[in-house]
């Protein structure tokens, strides 16, 4: 909280700036790399005690290992759902990840090699995102449910999944009281 109060006795002049660091909100980023092993994955982030958390943006990337050994390409249709700790959804239906973030032109990094075991995550930055603006109260748990990774027939069905997903949640912590635990 930065406030510019008038300096006593000097009307009209720019007053001193008062900074109360204990009441400052601050950005906080949650990051998790998820190994995709099933059709549905749950990610949880426990929110810090004494702080409310406002989810501003979500950025997601996944690698290009969902390539058939014969070279055919399957785009994963990964769906995301923001949940509260009691599994109350913040939306009516799961949304496809490329609808909220665009890490690459198609949302998937293309790997030229068919050797899927060595396909790395490409350094493609996200180009745009949509504001989420969902507020979680303190003591809540930020649940994210990823689903829609369908297994189709293949020599190895697991190859049709992205092998891992990078999930970044951008938001801000707001102190619940002035007596935050950071001080």
């Amino acid at each position: 909280m930065i406030s510019t109060a008038q300096r006593p006795g000097k009307a009209g002049s720019a007053g001193p700036v008062t900074v109360d660091f204990s009441r400052e909100s601050f950005p906080y980023l949650f990051y998790r790399r998820i190994n995709v092993l099933r059709g549905t994955e749950y990610i949880t982030f426990a929110l810090d005690y004494g702080f409310n958390y406002l989810v501003k943006r979500i950025a997601v990337k996944w690698d290009g290992q969902n390539i058939f050994p014969v070279g055919a390409y399957l785009s994963p249709d990964v769906l995301a759902e923001l949940l509260r700790y009691s599994c109350i959804a913040g939306q009516n239906v799961p949304f496809a990840l490329p609808l909220v973030t665009s890490p690459a032109s198609s949302g998937v990094s293309f790997i030229p090699s068919a050797v899927v075991a060595t396909s790395p995550m490409q350094a493609v930055p996200r180009k745009a995102h949509k504001a989420v603006n969902l507020l979680y109260a303190f003591k809540d748990v930020l649940y994210i449910r990823l689903s829609g990774m369908n297994v189709v027939s293949s020599v190895n069905p697991e190859l049709n999944h992205p092998s891992y997903i990078d999930l970044l949640v951008e938001g801000r912590y707001f102190p619940e009281t002035s007596e935050s635990l950071w001080i």
Binding site: P27, A128, L168
Partner: protein
Amino acid sequence: MSKILLNRIDAAKMFQVQNLQYSEILYLSDTVPLASGKMGRVSVSNLGHFYCLYVTGSFDTQFGAVDDGTDYLRGKLIDGSNQKQLFNDYVPLSLWLTPGRKKSLVASGAQSNSLFYPIPFEYLFSANSDIILDVKNDSDTALTYRIAFFGVRVKSRESVSGISR
């Protein structure tokens, strides 16, 4: 004669404000040794608080003699005044920095990325503190990153109170 400005610029008032608060860019660049980690830091100095608004950054993606465009760097931003960690984990730089990749070799790989837009990052760094970026490098080559913090300098001394804590 056309009227260019509706109001006359009061230089005295503008300087009065600018002497207390003005826009500033803090630049942080460091080279992380291969297969290792390093804490890069930039000093906010005792000139005043620094209210960061946006972040941009670029980094190298080299592995040996090949620039393969892979994200080998991951970092965690820390407020140096109280060691408050602003990330819960080491985040790959491509997830929170634009323009991101900077092509470091002439002959190989794709082009450098151009700036899409700055990532919003609003945070008040106090005077006499450091902005610390703890970076780990998974490549077999030393890699360099460059970050610009766009913000407002809020000068201390007679203009700011509450900085001693």
